[in-house]
């Protein structure tokens, strides 16, 4: 049984509610700040225990502070998530029904795509297929812009992928809706969208791009961690990763 919450937990939770997503550094600073305000001793490296304590009290409300990795840079992020079956509650006050349908269909398309990215043309084609109320191309474009602005989608050179906030919040929904299509990273065991896939036909494991970079860093002869075949993909080496998860 977890301990009772104090005002220090409540203040942390309130900030999580008003910030859609925090990176690890921001979350640590917030923890520190809440401890300072309530004159409580903060314990280094115990952020996740602190959050677990809050989560134990959030569980009856089907809410949770979840951690997830950005598929772009490998950094860890935190977000407060609604785990209830009503899929997109938090968005429902910001988007109309047909806009939500466009988002859901975009999500589906990204999940079933090979590399976790789709083009804006792909999205605009869905606009015609909405059952709630059709959107004109120009309207759909505006919705897409808003989804990027609100940090649900990332856009790079006309291609759309899921943001870290979206992955953290939508993972339960995606796992429910796409059981058979969900890919999991062989290194960090988290859900994977933008990833590399082992070529060998009997293997086919997936690894996130940032996880590829950490795993193969400094190895002269990159081989698949599962089947030991040569790993023919490009190894991104231009980033520095602060890998904090345990594989």
């Amino acid at each position: 049984m977890a301990r009772q919450l104090g005002d220090v937990h409540r203040r942390f939770l309130q900030s999580m509610m008003s910030n859609s997503v925090l990176d690890e550094q921001q979350a640590t600073a917030l923890y520190q700040n809440c401890c300072d305000i309530h004159k409580v001793q903060s314990i280094p490296d115990k952020l996740d225990d602190f959050i677990d304590n809050i989560n134990s009290k959030l569980q009856p409300m089907f809410m949770q502070i979840r951690k997830g990795m950005s598929e772009d840079n490998g950094h860890q992020f935190y977000a407060l998530v609604n785990m209830a079956e009503t899929d997109v509650t938090r968005m429902s006050s910001d988007y109309a029904d047909n806009e939500l349908e466009l988002f859901r269909k975009t999500l589906d398309l990204i999940v079933s795509s090979e590399n976790g990215k789709i083009s804006s043309t792909d999205v605009l084609n869905i606009a015609d297929t909405l059952t709630t109320k059709k959107l004109k191309k120009s309207e759909a474009e505006q919705v897409l812009n808003r989804l990027v602005q609100d940090k649900w989608l990332n856009e790079k050179r006309g291609e759309f992928s899921l943001s870290v906030k979206c992955i953290i919040e939508m993972e339960p929904y995606i796992r429910r809706m796409h059981e058979d299509q969900v890919k999991v990273c062989h290194i960090c065991h988290n859900i994977a969208f933008q990833c590399q896939i082992c070529d060998s036909p009997t293997c086919g494991i997936k690894i996130h791009n940032p996880c590829v970079a950490t795993y193969f860093k400094g190895r002269v002869d990159p081989r698949c961690p599962a089947c030991d075949e040569f790993w023919p993909h490009e190894i991104p080496g231009i980033y520095f990763y602060f890998s904090t998860y345990n594989s």
Partner: protein
Amino acid sequence: PSSSQVQRGMEKFTNSQVDQKTAEVIQFFLVKDQKKIPVRRADLVKHVIKEYRNVYSEIMKRVHQTFDQVFGLKLVEIDTKNHLYILINKLEPPEGGGAAAVQGPANPKTGLLFVILSVIFMKRGAVKESVIWNTLKKLRVDPGERHEQFGDVKRLVTDEFVRQRYLEYVRIPHTEPVEFEFHWGQRAELEVSKAKILDFMGQLHDQDPQTWSQQYREAHAPPSTPGSSQPHTSSSQP
């Protein structure tokens, strides 16, 4: 209903069903609170409580408890005639004054609101619209122009802040042409510390807050602590 009716209601549902409904009510309030929109009891019953209306008071008891113990929030009925509810923050604002005295999500609009509330408070509770617009112009926020951060400033102040119950925007009687004035809204009365506002004004004007003696008395009067003023929390039935 009487307590025996509630009891009979409770027999109809399992404890975990009531917990589940409690969770839905909490979610509903939290979603509305993102936009600071007051919740109408009739809407809550119609859209969320539904067939659980017999056990409304039991559900609301659990909702109050959870907001208090887990979120540090308090559910308050701000309008006992129309049964409107808002969430207010029970946690003390952190030291440091300024915009931090307004609680809730950190938001650039909060700073603007704080300025307006300060002006109203210093002018003893009611300020003509034109005075507010002139004050904002001095801060380079022109209500006639689109602002990069606030968008339509006039709409933000006279509509959004009013719907959120931070401000009241009322017609001054017998004015021709029609004139309006601003008052503090119920949410501001409950959420915003007048003592913090006065400290902030003191810093701004490099003056001891006590020199504004009337305001000082009002700010430090006993019932002005956040969350403890008149409107009562209600857990009665619909």
